[in-house]
């Protein structure tokens, strides 16, 4: 973004009006004013992304917002307010901003390339007009000073030097513009790398219960939630299978978690442990540990004596891992002789699991997240579970429409079960709480854009620092030889540089003493 807008002079011939309009629009777009406005628009456009729930961050919160604001939510949704960072208007702003950026840095790259190849400009006629000026008048100090000597002193200090007749021009600090351009090019590289990542990346989230029976393989169907980049096909996913062999959670006395550690077997290899902050890095995918919880194992014996066992993951509702969930037995009470299914006799249990139940009632909240005194509070339901209707439903809760319509009815009161305890329902069927298994929620991800983004960002930071600390400046010397040698010096800072006077004074002193050894100067950028 050019600091100073330099417009080329208008051509005398009457231009094509369409072309002229196009060119004017382009100039408008690439002007600093427009760039600043776009920057501000980008900042303002990002605000709704923090105020309103976002699908990409937490889809459940969006559903919650829909429930709370049934009229407003659809309108906001059409405006893309729940997907701000993927919305057309947000994209429009940053694409315009990047177009403006390109339009600005391309000419600057060209100019900078020329400037780097050009010798420092000729010495101006009146050096005393420059911000810094010094005269070394005759005497033993200046005797024998010549342009080559001065040039040697300057070169030693890494100035770019041009000697013309009896004058020396020198320039320094091109790194500032180099850094500035590097930073802006790096921003483009970041954007490009992010695009690569979203095209070729994929992810899947999955709740994985411990044990060999629950192992899963890396295919889309096996994930609870997944997303594929635009250029990724489901068959491109690397094939591997994961089995959660162990999960260890340590807690302090207050219940605050201290450490989590999951151990998985990848394919048939040796078990590998990973934890929060140190993911499991596989070939072509990383596995991240996002959360954990308990899955009660519940055994139900129906009217015909048929036994079914289910491991139902419960979702924790608080820090002490009080967990809620449902164990459903849709195939219960099928007559084994006829195979007839009575859909009114399906069974499900709504449950509240307390890893550490309090010593006395009410048993509604766990008091510690580890399993010190596990108890399962069950509510039995019998009737039509509504699973055959083909309507997607959460596996962690009962279909409340079935309950409301009376097709699914609660049987008796709730019952608190300890591990191994059995509860006999009114129809003689029994339910038994066998224990729990640990589960871990995992995110399996692949983002090929990560490393390019990081590299671009690092280059950008380097460029930024060069750009902010660099100072472009010029010095000039003119040597007049008569009866004695007269050296006149002038200095011109090209950027805001408060320490230039000192540097100039030091430089003149060094020239005077022909100190061509140079010295490490902190400001030589």
């Amino acid at each position: 973004m050019t600091a100073i807008q330099e417009r080329p002079p208008a051509t005398p011939s009457r231009p094509n009006p369409a072309l002229a309009r196009l060119r004017n629009s382009w100039r408008q777009l690439t002007s600093m004013r427009t760039a600043l406005i776009l920057l501000f628009l980008l900042a303002i456009a990002a605000i709704p992304g923090s105020v309103l729930p976002q699908r990409g961050v937490n889809a459940q919160n969006v559903d919650g917002y829909y429930a709370e604001h049934p009229t407003l939510a659809p309108i906001l949704d059409r405006l893309g307010a729940f997907d701000v960072f993927a919305s057309p208007w947000f994209s429009a702003i940053y694409l315009l901003l990047f177009a403006s950026l390109v339009g600005c840095i391309v000419p600057r790259l060209r100019d900078h390339y020329r400037a780097l190849r050009m010798a420092p400009p000729a010495v101006p006629a009146r050096l005393d007009r420059l911000p810094q000026h010094a005269v070394l008048a005759g005497g033993p100090d200046t005797d024998g000073l010549d342009v080559e000597g001065i040039a040697a002193v300057l070169r030693k200090r890494r100035w770019r030097v041009a000697v013309r007749d009896n004058t020396v021009s020198a320039e320094k600090g091109h790194l500032k513009e180099t850094g500035n351009l590097l930073f802006h090019v790096a921003l483009l590289a970041v954007l490009f790398s992010v695009a690569i990542g979203s095209w070729y990346g994929w992810h899947g989230n999955r709740l994985l219960v411990a044990g060999p029976d629950n192992a899963f393989c890396n295919t889309l169907q096996q994930y609870d939630e997944s997303g594929l980049g635009a250029r990724v096909h489901a068959s491109d996913l690397p094939g591997f299978c994961l089995e959660l062999t162990d999960f260890q959670a340590k807690f302090r006395q207050t219940g605050q978690p201290e450490s989590f550690r999951a151990t998985v077997r990848v394919d048939d290899g040796a078990p590998r442990a990973f934890s929060v902050n140190s993911p499991l890095r596989l070939d072509g995918a990383n596995v991240y540990l996002l959360g954990h919880g308990y899955a009660p194992v519940i055994r139900y014996t129906d009217r015909y004596g048929r036994v079914q066992t289910t491991t139902a993951p419960f979702l924790s509702v608080d820090g002490m891992l009080t967990s809620e969930g449902v164990a459903a037995f849709p195939d219960a009470n099928v007559d084994p002789k006829t195979g007839a299914r009575d859909s009114k006799l399906q069974v499900a249990f709504e449950g509240l699991y307390l890893p550490t139940a309090p010593d006395t009632a009410p048993y509604t909240r766990s008091v510690f997240p580890a399993e010190r005194s596990p108890a399962l509070l069950l509510f039995a339901y019998r009737g039509n579970l509504g699973l055959d209707a083909g309507i997607p439903n959460s596996v962690y809760s009962l279909d409340q429409r079935q309950v409301a319509s009376g097709r699914l009815a609660r049987v008796g009161d709730g019952k608190l079960l300890r591990v191994g305890e059995k509860w006999t329902l009114d129809d003689g069927t029994t339910v038994e709480f066998l224990g729990t298994k640990q589960y871990a929620t995992l995110s399996v991800r692949h983002d090929p854009g990560e490393k390019p983004v990081l590299a671009s960002a690092a280059v950008g930071l380097l460029g930024l620092m060069l750009s902010l600390t660099g100072r472009r400046r010029r010095v000039f010397f003119r040597v007049t030889t008569g009866r004695s040698t007269l050296v006149e010096a002038g200095g011109l800072p090209r950027t805001d540089y408060a320490g230039f006077a000192e540097e100039f004074a030091q430089l003149v002193k060094d020239v005077e003493h022909r100190d061509s050894e140079g010295r490490a100067d902190g400001r030589t950028v």
């Binding site: 973004m1 100073i4 600043l36 920057l39 930071l461 320490g499």
Partner: protein
């Protein structure tokens, strides 16, 4: 140790109050005295001419009593600076004891974070002051901000010492949070010369109503403008590193993605954009300096939003505040 930390915080706040009183006294006495009024505009010229050339090698040398006739106002001013130094040391003590009590860096929740950010702010202020003693008048606003922020931290944000949750146990905790603390502290300090620049330039244009009337006794506009730019230009790369590079590196390891538009990330991005806008505007001659400085003020508001607002109003992955 934790109780000691709490007591040190109270002492630090009281010392900042003393500093504030000292600076206020300097303001008040100075306005009554004709000498003070005449001396005030002269001071910036010294700075303008000398610039950073009057770099004082050692901090304490700034506290030597002035050689000129001991003027009540100047005495009050230097007393205020001494009180600030004491307060900063006690403040550091409060942070260190807090960290010792928790056996970790004292950045685990919002209370500790605000304590750290304000300490960086006051340390940066003392460094700047040691280089340019003539900007001492800004100390009133610095001390006021310290009292307010530490007061809010102690009364509203306070939580008991607790160990880190597993999600925070990472090397990147130190890298990411220290860079965020450092840059936030300097950005917050940068607001003081920015606001004073706006007041001073309004005063220079002939405005004499309340906020601009303060402009009579603050350093010259160009000194304030340059200081504002320097502080922001110093903090910006650190913020870039801390919030937009180290943060994402950690987020990748902890949450599986380097950037996910969590509310804290959104506001870090907004602050970055706004401060980038300030640096661009400041570097563009066609943009007025007051306009550029207003952008810096907006940036400061976004930092406050990120520091307090995000933790209070939104829930997200950065909800370690303990509120």
């Amino acid at each position: 140790m934790a109780a000691l930390s709490d007591q040190l915080l109270v002492i630090a706040i009281m010392s900042y109050v003393a500093a504030m009183v000292g600076h206020a006294a300097e303001y008040a006495f100075g306005q009554r005295s004709h000498v003070g009024r005449a001396a005030a505009p002269a001071a910036p010229v010294l700075v303008g001419a000398g610039g950073p050339s009057v770099v004082e090698p050692e901090l304490p040398s700034s506290f030597d009593p002035p050689a000129s006739p001991p003027d009540k106002a100047r005495f009050a001013g230097w007393f205020a600076v001494a009180a600030t130094v004491v307060a900063a040391l006690v403040h550091l003590g409060a942070l260190a004891t807090r960290g010792l009590a928790a056996h970790r860096m004292p950045w685990g929740n919002m209370y500790e974070f605000v304590l750290s950010v304000t300490f960086v702010g006051i340390a940066a202020w003392l460094v700047v002051l040691s280089r340019k003693p003539t900007i001492r008048h800004l100390g009133l606003f610095v001390a006021l901000a310290m009292v307010l922020l530490l007061g809010v931290a102690g009364m509203v944000l306070y939580v008991d010492v607790a160990p880190l949750v597993p999600a925070l146990k990472s090397t990147w905790f130190v890298v990411h949070v220290s860079a965020a603390v450092l840059s936030s502290g300097i950005f917050l300090l940068g607001f003081v010369p920015a606001a004073m620049f706006l007041i001073r330039s309004g005063y220079d244009r002939g405005k004499r109503s309340f906020p601009y009337s303060l402009g009579a006794r603050v350093p010259a506009a160009d000194v304030l403008d340059r200081l504002t730019f320097r502080l922001h230009a110093f903090a910006f790369p650190i913020w870039t590193f801390g919030a937009l590079i180290a943060g994402p590196i950690w987020a990748e390891a902890a949450w599986g993605r380097y950037w996910g538009w969590d509310p804290k990330e959104v506001w870090a991005f907004i602050s970055w954009i706004v401060y980038a806008g300030y640096l661009h505007a400041r570097a563009t001659p066609s943009v007025k300096r007051t306009t550029a400085t207003w952008i810096a003020v907006v940036g400061w508001l976004t930092m406050l939003m990120n520091l307090f607002g995000v933790n209070i109003f939104f829930t997200g992955l950065h909800s370690y505040g303990g509120l």
